[in-house]
């Protein structure tokens, strides 16, 4: 026994899983992971985390896209500086369209890349504690704790409405 263990509880209801997370956090257990078949605002609130950093990826991607849109349109017009229809070589109003499209394009691609990066996708190995039912109709709460806290936290999980609580095994110290 190396002093730590992991408890895996399964819940039928989203609110029960969120309640379990809140109870565990009140009990100073911070190494918690939830598996869910749907996104849950209740679970999100129970964790009280800051908003995802994917926002930053989209913002930076969008800015980079807008700048590259301007650079492409202005740069290529200056390179092929043919007057057409008596209009200025650099005609900003029509270039806004390209700038907008590039902003959306790079903002979107960057957002997806940010999502992959922060979600650690693609993942080659299965996450410890994951069970097929957590992709379908159950919610799983995995908590790592000191072996001495095991019984107390198991009690909290059962109080929150866990259908089953299992000890996944001794975790590495």
């Amino acid at each position: 026994m190396n002093g730590e263990l992991e408890l895996l509880a399964s819940f039928a209801e989203e609110r029960q899983a969120a309640g379990a997370v809140a109870a565990l956090r009140r009990a100073q257990a911070d190494d918690i992971r939830v598996f869910a078949p749907i996104p849950s605002e209740h679970v999100e609130e129970a964790f009280e985390r800051r908003k995802s950093r994917v926002r930053l990826w989209v913002l930076l991607g969008g800015i980079a896209g807008a700048l590259s849109g301007l650079a492409i349109t202005i740069g290529t017009s200056l390179e092929w500086n043919l007057v057409a229809g008596g209009k200025p070589i650099v005609s900003l109003p029509p270039y806004i369209i390209i700038t907008f499209e590039m902003m959306v394009l790079l903002g979107g691609i960057s957002g997806v890349l940010g999502f992959f990066f922060h979600s650690r996708l693609p993942a080659l190995e299965s996450q410890r504690g994951f069970n097929s039912r957590f992709a379908q109709d159950h919610f799983g709460v995995l908590v790592r704790c000191a072996a001495s806290d095991g019984d107390r936290l198991e009690g909290l999980l059962r109080e929150a409405g866990a259908l089953a609580v299992e000890r996944v095994g001794a975790a590495a110290a």
Partner: protein, 452 residues
């Protein structure tokens, strides 16, 4: 009464999974015959196009002044079809609309394949298709660059962006469902879905990032969808041609796109829910709401047609008056009246709740709208070119075997990819149906009580 109440189907998470995953079961011979038929249409279209490339555009009905006709009509039609997918998946997502959950995946899939189909037509329309990349800016020894003041270049950027963003949006939404399919399958299917789901396990951290990314993608896709069809309308509105040069084109095209796209969703999903047995997941309530959008956009279209004609009458420009007179009463005037009948008259039936809840009627109305919207694109594209400034130059396009075959093949191409996707991918979002399970149960209870 109590017995009747007990017999109401109240789906839970497991029922949603079973319902959607059963659609992905190994298909039978009839399915493969259908896909084979569609593939044959594509092959015939491909052979016809090869002949066109070999012999030149002379094999088509294109001639001065109608150098744009069915190919560009098809392009605008398919881009329009694509738009409702993003409306349902992105715009209605931002508004947290309840009924979108059952139909949005189907609409998104339709969007991706419709844009793919649309993207073929500018290339099919080229005499030398191998030079299609001339529209893109790239370094070359002559410092030759595209003119960014041209709407055709805007179109190239808009459509490419739209295809990329809508594909990413579709793929992102699929990831949790693919993980679900992975867990429920075995053999090669497990490996296939495992690969596509990228090792998704639905942890709180993954959902947190997913929700944020999905929300922001919806936020980006919303102005994008409005911009893309506006840009497509600029292809016409920027030209100094009677029938094209109009400031109402962008909103008029966007409304038309949503109108035709929602109709196409109905055309696809009504047979699909019957054939694949998901009537309890995609209920009459979902389609009723879709029909209301069709009704609303039909009224906008009727207003736009009236407004367009009024502007011409009010401006009193003799050439434009003549163009519009020919549009209504010329040799191809019947196409205009067919358009009015299909787009303005037939959808009025949707004011009746009974019609909106009858699947057969709804399906027939959706077909009329598809025909009407294709006719509208044709009237604008070909009709305006055929009878413009000089009466001595007026000439109407005549159907050619090549163009008709390639048009039919484009439907085969679209339906082939859609059919393959619908059978091997989750065509209804399990995740979102589960999220809105309460609404789905309510919809089913409503349909039971109505039937009673």
């Amino acid at each position: 009464m109590a017995a009747a109440a007990k017999s109401v189907f109240e789906p839970d998470y497991g029922d949603v999974d079973r319902g959607v995953l059963s659609v992905m079961a190994p298909p039978g011979i009839r399915y493969w015959l259908w896909v084979g038929f569609l593939a044959a249409l594509v092959l015939v279209g491909g052979a016809t196009w090869t002949n066109q490339v070999y012999r030149g555009l002379g094999v088509t009905g294109l001639t001065q002044p109608t150098m744009w006709a069915v190919y560009i009509t098809n392009f605008v039609f398919w881009v329009g079809i694509a738009h409702s997918g993003t409306l349902i998946s992105a715009i209605l997502y931002l508004f947290r609309t309840r009924w979108r959950t059952a139909v949005y995946r189907c609409a998104e899939t339709m969007t991706v394949f419709a844009v793919t189909t649309a993207g073929l037509f500018p290339i099919v329309h080229l005499g030398r298709p191998w030079f299609f990349y001339f529209l893109a800016p790239y370094p070359n020894e002559r410092s030759l660059q595209p003119d960014f003041r041209s709407p055709l270049v805007w179109d190239f950027f808009a459509i490419s962006t739209y295809l990329t963003i809508s594909s990413l949006f579709l793929f992102m939404g699929l990831i949790p469902d693919l993980a679900n399919a992975r867990e429920a399958s075995s053999g090669w299917r497990r490996k296939f879905y495992g690969l596509l789901s990228l090792g998704w396990h639905g942890t709180d951290e993954q959902w947190r990032n997913f929700s944020m990314a999905y929300l922001l993608m919806a936020g980006l896709a919303t102005p994008l969808v409005l911009s893309v069809h506006s840009v497509v309308s600029f292809d016409f509105a920027m030209a100094q041609l009677p029938g094209w040069h109009s400031t109402i084109f962008p909103p008029y095209f966007v409304a038309g796109a949503i109108f035709s796209g929602c109709a196409m969703v109905l055309t696809l999903i009504i047979p699909l829910r019957k054939i694949m047995g998901v009537e309890n997941l995609v209920t009459a309530w979902h389609l009723d709401n879709l029909a209301k959008i069709i009704l609303l956009t039909s009224l906008i279209m009727s207003y736009s047609y009236a407004c367009e004609s009024f502007l011409v009458w009010y401006a009193k420009d003799p050439i434009e008056l003549e163009t519009f007179y020919m549009r209504y009463y010329g040799p191809q005037g019947w196409i205009f009246w067919l358009m009015i009948f299909c787009n303005c008259v037939i959808p009025l039936l949707l004011f009746s709740p009974r019609v909106r809840r009858s699947m057969v009627t709804l399906f027939i109305i959706s077909l009329f709208v598809n025909v009407g919207m294709w006719s509208e694109r044709f009237v604008i594209v070909e009709g305006s070119l055929a009878a413009s400034f000089e009466p001595s130059q007026w000439r109407y396009w005549h159907a050619s075997f090549t163009e008709v075959t390639i048009t039919v093949a484009s439907f085969g191409w679209f339906l082939m990819w859609f059919s393959l996707f619908a059978r091997f991918m989750p065509i209804v979002s399990m995740t979102e149906l589960k999220e809105g399970l309460g609404w789905l149960r309510q919809a089913i209870r409503d349909s039971y009580s109505r039937a009673a």
